[in-house]
Each structure stands twice: as structure tokens, then as C-alpha cells.
Amino acid sequence: MLKVINLKKVFTNEKMFGKGKTEVIAVAGVSFEVKDGTIMAIVGESGSGKTTIARCLAGIEIPDEGEIIFNNEPLMFDTKEKRAAVQYVFQDTFGSLNPRMKIGDIIAEPIGFHFNKTGNELRLGVIACLESVGLKTEIENKYPHELSGGQRQRVVIARALAMRPSLLIADEPVSSLDVSVQAQILSLFQKLNKENKISIVFITHDLRLVKSLADDIIVLKDGKIEEQGSVENVFCKPKSAYTKLLLSSIPGNPQK
């Protein structure tokens, strides 16, 4: 369903009068495939390029080189349908919700825009959306700052799901959450994948989650792929020294 070919992205910081640019090669030529209905984990430490790749996939960032093929077409967001098909879950739950909008309005915005619903029909759509992520309908009148971290993360997911995407890109969606809340959100992702058949690209630095959640994995370092394959293969028979280092760094891992 998703094919990435030789993706490259460079960030330049220009000085005032053009004397000396500093270039940071965020992604240095990355290629991989995500099969329909699977969960792909992209794992790496800070600076590995994983967030940049995620943002390119979602269209928030434009790659400098390379192609992204989605459903056999080059990835573009020129129509509403195409925009709705690929959605993104932010790591920063607080920053990704407009602090002046009520939750109900935040969810209603994409539903209204994409499905032309209004009035009561729109409200029913919002309620259905909130319920699908396990939130109570009373939340629709609250503001983001009145919610807990776990609730906000669910709202961010609900907003993404409101557009009925077939591909969901989640950038470290549980990193800032408590363990018990993490478990609930991960369980939700599993449900979305199994029941709603949504393909998921899951960015994380925590390998423990990957084993239980993902089908395939990509290990990134300094903008390049160190290793990729099915989760089973990579975890049981890691080939790259870096992968082995990551696995042995997991706290409490008896593999040490």
C-alpha cells in the first residue's frame, strides 16, 4: 500500500546574507514498503530522522528527493479524499489541539469539511467518533487544558480517525503518557488495525512496544536504515550491530 523510494530530506539554516549555510541531512536515502493492513514500526533515537520521515509521509514536510507511492499513485493531497486517506497522530497532545476550541468543535471540523455534515447529523458524527476511541460524550464541551494526557491523546487519534483514513502515521503517540494509559492507547491501536483494517506506521524509540504491536520494523540511525524486516526476524536474529546495541539497552532485557 505504501512504498517509499530513496527518500531524502535536508534542512538548511541560512545565515542573513547568505554567508555560510549549515546543512543537516535529516533523511539520507530511505526505502521501504508498508503492506496493506499491517503495522510498521520505525525505531530510532533522536536525530535518526524518524520524525522527518513521518512528516513526509503525512505531507507536512516535502521531501527533497525520492518518491512516496501510496495505493499505486505518487503521494499527493490535491483532493479531499486523498488528504483524508493519510492521517497523522501527533506526539505533542497539548500543542496539536487548538487551546481555544472545544473538543466537540475540534472533532467536528474535519467531519464537516470532508463529509459536508451539518447540524444534528454533524453532532452525531462527533459523538460516534469520540465513542470509538473510548471517550465519553461529556467531553465535547471541554477545552484541551481540562483533559488528562491520555484523554488528549485519544482526542488527537479521534480527530485523525474522523476522516476515515486507510493509513495512520503515529509519531511517538504514547511517549509522554503513563504506563497504564500507554497500554490503553496501544490497545486502541491494535483494535483499529484489526477491526477497522487501518494500516499504521508507528514511530517510537521504545523497542518493548514494538515486539507486541508491530508486524514489521525499520531501525534508523543518522537518517539511514540500519536494518529492516519482520519484527520476529529482527528481534530474534538481529544483523546490524546497532540493532543489537538497541536491544541490549532495553532495561531489564535478559539478552544483555
Binding site: 488528504r83 496539536s96 487551546p99 469539511f113
Partner: protein, 270 residues
């Protein structure tokens, strides 16, 4: 709502109301001269006394309030409009557009404001409208830079990205998502701006370049009074007091608003 906002707001509203309802509070108008009672001290008929031409100072103060406040508010609206427009465009689009606008701002800043105002007044002639426009045209640089900075920081926030992910048009994003979140500083600027404009107008009138007779403004009542400080203190005292109260209350309102808009956003962070 905190006490500062309340106090400032109440005082400001009272001033505006008294200006609007001027005819209700006084039976005299600002023009009527009666040389026989010139420079008479405050009494029951003329509670603020009379000026050098026998005009009732209280009435002149009330009608003058209309003019001073109108000048203040309109001047600020003009400068806010220019500043917000230029600032948002510079902040949102960045790059060359931003550079051009900011260099223009820099050039404006190199010219001393008062000097510029004086020049323009002399050139265009002093009148209430000119005063308003000129003050407006010369004081937009602060708000432009402020808005630019705000737009630049809000633009980077994740919820603007989220709006792009929905597929909303740029126009919708700017007006629905970015604007409301930078309203705070705009309100604050405007309240400080009003008091600044009132002071500037008073200063211009003091120099004889502001509102021209027979129209009253707090500044020109004060001006006329400067020659009679020892004999008719009320001509200097009351306008001075009024300017003080107006500037003070708008400033307090501004500070209260600033505190209201800032820490609230920070407190919301868990």
C-alpha cells in the same frame, strides 16, 4: 477576572460614557463665551470654573473628552490595522516578503516619531482628523513586530499542522486558527496605544499643533491654562487630572489584560 482589569475597565468605560453623554451632564456648550465671568474659580454654576474667554471648563472638559478619546481610539485602530496586516503577512509567509516588510519597519524606526509627527502636521495642517491619521500612521511599528513574532511562533505549533492535515485552506487556517490565538497581545497593545495616543494628542495641542480652537481637547485646555497657572489653577489642574486618569486606567486595563492572557496559557499546561 482580576482586579486590575476591573478597575481599568470601569474607569475607561466611565470616561467614555461621560464623553458620549456630555450634553446630559452640562447645559453649557463648549463655545459659549462670557467675558464677564472669565477666569472665575469653580462654583456651583461652573464646577470646574471658567477659562480665559469665559467658557465653562467642565463642559469643555466633557466635549474635550470626546475629542481626546476619539483621537486615541481611532489613531490606535489605524495603527493596529496597518501593524496587524503587515505583521501577519511578514510572519506567515516569511522569506523575502518578511525581509522587505521588516526593512521598511527598520527605516520607519530610524526616524524619530515626534519629529515625523510634527513634520506631517505642519505639512498637512493641524485638524482633528489629521491628528488622528498621522498618529495612526506613525505608531504601527511596535504592533507589526509583535504580531509578526506571534504569528511566527503560533505558525510552528502543532495545531496549525493539524489544520493543514485536515486540508483546510490557508485563509481558513490564518483566520480560524492563528488569529484567535494572538488576540491577547493585540488587546494589550490597543489599550496601551490609546493612552499613548491621548498623551501624544495632548502634547501636540500643547504645542499648538493639535486640535484647533474653538474645539476643545484636554491638551489645548491645558495649553491655554499655562499662562494662568497662578490665577486660574483649575484650567491646568482638571485637564491634567483627566489625562492622568485616562492614561492610568487604560494602562491598568492593558496590564490586567496582559496578565490575563499570559499565565492562563501557562497554567493550563499540566
Amino acid at each position: 477576572m482580576n482586579k486590575m482589569i476591573m478597575t481599568g475597565a470601569i474607569a475607561a468605560v466611565l470616561l467614555i460614557l461621560s464623553a458620549i453623554a456630555a450634553p446630559l451632564f452640562t447645559s453649557y456648550d463648549y463655545k459659549t463665551q462670557d467675558i464677564s465671568i472669565r477666569l472665575s474659580s469653580p462654583d456651583t454654576k461652573h464646577i470646574f470654573g471658567t477659562d480665559e474667554l469665559g467658557r465653562d471648563v467642565f463642559s469643555r472638559m466633557l466635549y474635550g473628552a470626546r475629542i481626546s478619546m476619539t483621537v486615541g481610539i481611532i489613531a490606535v485602530l489605524i495603527s493596529a490595522l496597518i501593524g496587524i496586516l503587515l505583521g501577519s503577512v511578514a510572519g506567515y509567509f516569511g522569506g523575502l516578503i518578511d525581509n522587505i516588510i521588516m526593512r521598511f519597519v527598520d527605516i520607519m524606526l530610524t526616524i524619530p516619531t515626534l519629529f515625523l509627527i510634527l513634520m506631517l502636521i505642519v505639512f498637512l495642517g493641524p485638524s482633528i482628523i489629521n491628528v488622528m491619521i498621522i498618529i495612526g500612521l506613525t505608531s504601527w511599528t511596535d504592533i507589526a513586530r509583535l504580531i509578526r513574532a506571534e504569528v511566527m511562533s503560533v505558525k510552528k505549533l502543532a495545531y496549525v499542522d493539524a489544520a493543514k492535515l485536515i486540508g483546510l485552506r490557508k485563509r481558513t487556517i490564518i483566520f480560524k486558527h492563528i488569529m484567535p490565538n494572538i488576540l491577547g497581545p493585540i488587546f494589550v497593545y490597543m489599550t496601551f496605544g490609546i493612552s499613548g495616543a491621548i498623551l501624544t494628542e495632548s502634547g501636540l495641542s500643547f504645542l499648538g499643533l493639535g486640535v484647533q480652537p474653538p474645539y476643545p481637547s484636554w491638551g489645548n485646555i491645558l495649553t491655554a491654562g499655562k499662562d494662568y497657572i497662578h490665577t486660574a489653577w483649575w484650567m491646568v489642574f482638571y485637564p491634567g487630572l483627566a489625562i492622568f486618569i485616562a492614561v492610568f486606567s487604560y494602562n491598568i486595563l492593558g496590564e490586567g489584560l496582559r496578565d490575563y492572557f499570559n499565565p492562563r496559557l501557562k497554567k493550563e499546561n499540566k
